[in-house]
Symmetry: C2
Subunit: 319 residues, 2 copies
């Protein structure tokens, strides 16, 4: 839930004079996304989402995100399309912060994705990667291997407070990841945060993918590893192999994995779990106890790390 920036009717009307969308008919702050402020906007032309980028968003990254969304939409992928203002640029400024108006996508986010949704997601991720194969912009993944020891430094006691002995296990994972992280794999533009709440489904079909603000350039298979973590675990770190198989095999109906990508899946999955464990650990400590935004529990990802530590082969993931 996040509406950090307050936009009144006069500010909105002034913003809309820069567009050809007509006057506002309705406008409501919505609880979508954690990093930015989002508003549902209705005009005579249709419905839109206004996003105001808050402090965590780097201004120099925004053309990458806008370009990616526009590229995807132009290929028929169900991503929101940044609406250009009358000067052709979709990026505006509201209360001194960057802002964009995107098209609205229908659909519901699944809380507990079923096997059909995992299958649909795998195929959509394949289409996502293939659609972006000719996307030219680059943005490094600043939440990958090099950042993890930095994020964990000084947080050993917090980890052990969550679960006794956890810090030693995490340190072992960090050493393993550093020694075994792939040097080269097929790369390109990835979503990097394709959780169920960043997808919409309608009539059992994937109708939308949103929240591109962690997207970056990295190994394509790392994106699969993120999705295996986000879509294929049950409670208490139990991996649902059937869902994993469905996700990977439907991905491969669109883009075949190379043998080296398949081989790398276990270490990539362990790294993806580490990334979400660490950002959640950081957020847990940074969020006041009585704040209304409830931070995600890092333990969910500590439990997934436990599974990855035991996994021996791509077959353990359904590949």
């Amino acid at each position: 839930m996040a509406v950090y920036t307050d936009i009144d009717d006069a500010t909105l009307s002034a913003l809309l004079t820069e567009y050809d969308l007509g006057p506002p008919l309705a406008f409501k702050g919505i609880a979508e996304g954690v990093e930015n402020s989002n508003f549902l906007l209705e005009t005579p032309r249709g419905r839109y989402i206004l996003t105001v980028f808050e402090k965590r968003a780097k201004k120099e990254d925004l053309p990458f995100f806008m370009g990616m969304m526009g590229h995807l939409a132009s290929k028929g992928f169900p991503a929101p399309l940044p609406v250009p203002a009358r000067d052709g640029n979709p990026l505006r400024t509201v209360h001194g912060k960057p802002a964009v108006i995107c098209t609205f996508l229908q659909g519901m986010s699944p809380r507990r994705p079923d096997i059909n949704q995992c299958r649909a997601l795998g195929q959509a991720l394949g289409r996502f990667h293939v659609s972006l194969s000719d996307f030219r912009l680059r943005r490094p993944n600043d939440l990958s291997l090099a950042s993890w020891p930095v994020m964990f430094a000084g947080r050993e006691a917090e980890a052990d407070a969550l679960s006794p002995g956890l810090s030693a296990l995490v340190q072992g994972d960090l050493d393993f990841l550093k020694a075994n992280w792939p040097k080269t794999l097929p790369g390109g533009a990835i979503h990097a945060d394709l959780f169920p709440d960043n997808t919409f489904f309608l009539d059992g079909k994937l109708s939308g993918v949103i929240d591109f603000y962690f997207a970056c350039s990295d190994f394509l298979a790392y994106d699969i590893a993120v999705c295996l973590n986000a879509w294929c675990f049950e409670r208490r770190g139990e991996y649902n192999l059937t869902k994993g198989r469905a996700l990977i095999s439907s991905y491969e109906t669109v883009r075949r994995l190379e043998p080296r990508e398949r081989t790398a899946l276990p270490v990539l999955a362990r790294g993806a779990a580490m990334r979400f464990f660490l950002t959640r650990l950081v957020d847990l400590v940074a969020t006041p106890k009585d704040a209304l935004v409830k931070p995600h529990n890092p333990l969910d990802y500590a439990e997934r790390l436990g599974f990855h530590r035991q996994a021996k082969s791509p077959e353990d993931y359904g590949a």
Copy 2:
């Protein structure tokens, strides 16, 4: 901003089986209302607002609110209509809490109402009272005269921390109100919280009134007094007499004030300012400093009390 209850896709689908609205096409938590959780819901039948009543709402009051909204909508007043489920009752239960689905109203809430909006509001308030003249349900106003000394008890130091000497002034106001509060005036169903953010405007016309959850039975003129406080002050407790005149005179195009109501306006306005000063003072102390919901500043209403203390006659309000 408020989404206290988390509703996932499975819970929503289960709820919608009790209605004839079709399956959900979109669903988003929205930042509307402070007391309850609100969601924008879209189905093939149209758009709706789902409200889940949180702990401050008393279950036994809900039929009064539902009845009032239905009564208003049936008279063509732009209030949300509670949608009956298949069993005829609009009240449902979600996660053990009462919930209702109402029709969606277009429009934008004014942050700083202009004179035309004050005029439109006055007329709408008149229509509101007249439309409800044959509404049979009753609900006492539990935030009126008797509650104010109780709310203020023990908060003298907090008031003085806001502004040195404030507690003595407030105590004087409470004594004055107790001695001068009207015994009888024309009464009926009132909104009791008709602030600009509970109204929508479209093309300069009032298109909706929402948030009936402080509505109760009280003096009709008290509702005008609430609106004079909420719509006709500029910064620093400066009363805009032109706006006050516009609001009252347009109200009277629909329902003529009796002489005794006009005479009572100054004391009613002082009481209305006291009510909002006190609930804001209580909320200020109850809200943790780092919570995302920013409490309203009680000083705005302490300043309005300052104006009311000086006011001598209905003419000072534009009546």
